[in-house]
Subunit: 196 residues, 2 copies
DNA sequence: TACGTTAGTAAGTAAGTGATTACAACATTA
DNA sequence: TAATGTTGTAATCACTTACTTACTAACGTA
């Protein structure tokens, strides 16, 4: 194999993990299989990451940056809360659809527990998302378009279930879900909760 | 170890799986650890279940019977849709809280894919639950108390996220969730979607 | 061109996995 | 009571896991 820098190899390794999850399933992300997919020896993997757990950690950090970053952009834009919430939901669903492997990885780590640091990272990702929702709901209330008796945190909780359910449906029934259509329909329901 | 019938051992083994998941994490349900927890040799496990996968299958069948059965009871009772939906949600959340291990097991199997039969079983469990919701929503519309322009299937989808989100929150943040309070708050939101 | 650093390999390691074996002790029933 | 089937054990199977070792080859730079 030709030589590449650690930076490039790290990206390749992380990508390989997600690719394997998406088309072979979570149980196949062994370091052996990982190396095979990149076309590298198993030992080389450990040249670029000290442990397998560090690979997972790296992927989680990427999610925290990419997904949370793109969602933050939407939240901070100077638009009407109503428009932002819709874009936010669609972006959220789209990201999960395009990065199927990531969600499954996150949930698996949550399910397996055992690792406090990874659990904490997941918690942080979910917490930030929830805060974004809460902010948008409160903004909409301030704008006067939404019911001020509504509990923003409760809305955030019920919202959080939408992308998760989408992902589960998507995993179990790969072909039968249109992301755009899905987010529009769910947004309609959320709006009924929020409207005066 | 004293002799017991296969029926008793099967129950012990399935219980041990859930106990281990709940307090050691999913990664520790090896046949070795399973045997140790029951106080049996590893070989004895395979005396009562042909393979480890059959243990998981057995647990899934239990869920299909217990949870789906108890929910069906609620759905079929001759009460007002409004009351049934509330009881349904509370029962659903309560079951997940009391059987934390089961949910994690189901999601892990979904995430790991690979096994068509288990995936099909999970799909079936989720499908039945969704059908129950759809029925109750349509009943409520027939009763004239709920908005007939609302799409029952969409409500079912957004509903499904609630117990799932509850479970995730519960796993990540064990102490901080009151099931009764949670289901009451979520029910309030669902009602806003349904009301005329 | 020499030299230290980086990135690669093949072949290991110990520990763990699900599953099987040969055999012993017990229970049921003919 | 003798025969038979059931439930247990200890040891071991073949295999996979994450990770390590000893060593080699390419790179940048002085």
């Amino acid at each position: 194999m030709s030589r590449e820098t650690t930076d490039i190899r790290q990206e390749q390794i992380k990508k390989a993990v997600l690719d394997i999850i998406a088309d072979e399933g979570l149980q196949n992300i062994s370091t052996r299989n990982l190396a095979k997919r990149i076309g590298l020896s198993e030992g080389a993997i450990f040249r670029h990451f000290p442990t397998k757990r560090d690979i997972i950690k790296g992927i989680m950090d990427d999610v925290a940056n990419d997904l949370i970053g793109s969602l933050r952009n939407i939240v901070l834009k100077p638009e009407k809360a109503e428009d932002k919430l819709f874009k936010y939901l669609c972006q959220n669903v789209k990201y999960l659809k395009e990065n199927r492997g990531i969600t499954m990885l996150l949930f698996s780590e949550a399910a397996h527990l055992g690792d406090k640091e990874l659990k904490e990272k997941l918690n942080h990702i979910l917490y930030e998302q929830k805060q974004f929702i809460i902010k948008m709901v409160k903004d909409g209330i301030k704008e006067g378009v939404w019911d001020k008796s509504v509990n923003a945190e409760d809305v955030a909780i019920i919202y959080m279930g939408i992308p998760i359910t989408f992902n589960i449906e998507f995993v179990l029934n790969k072909n039968g879900l249109n992301a755009d259509n899905f987010c529009r329909r769910m947004y309609t329901l959320i709006l009924k909760i929020l409207k005066n």
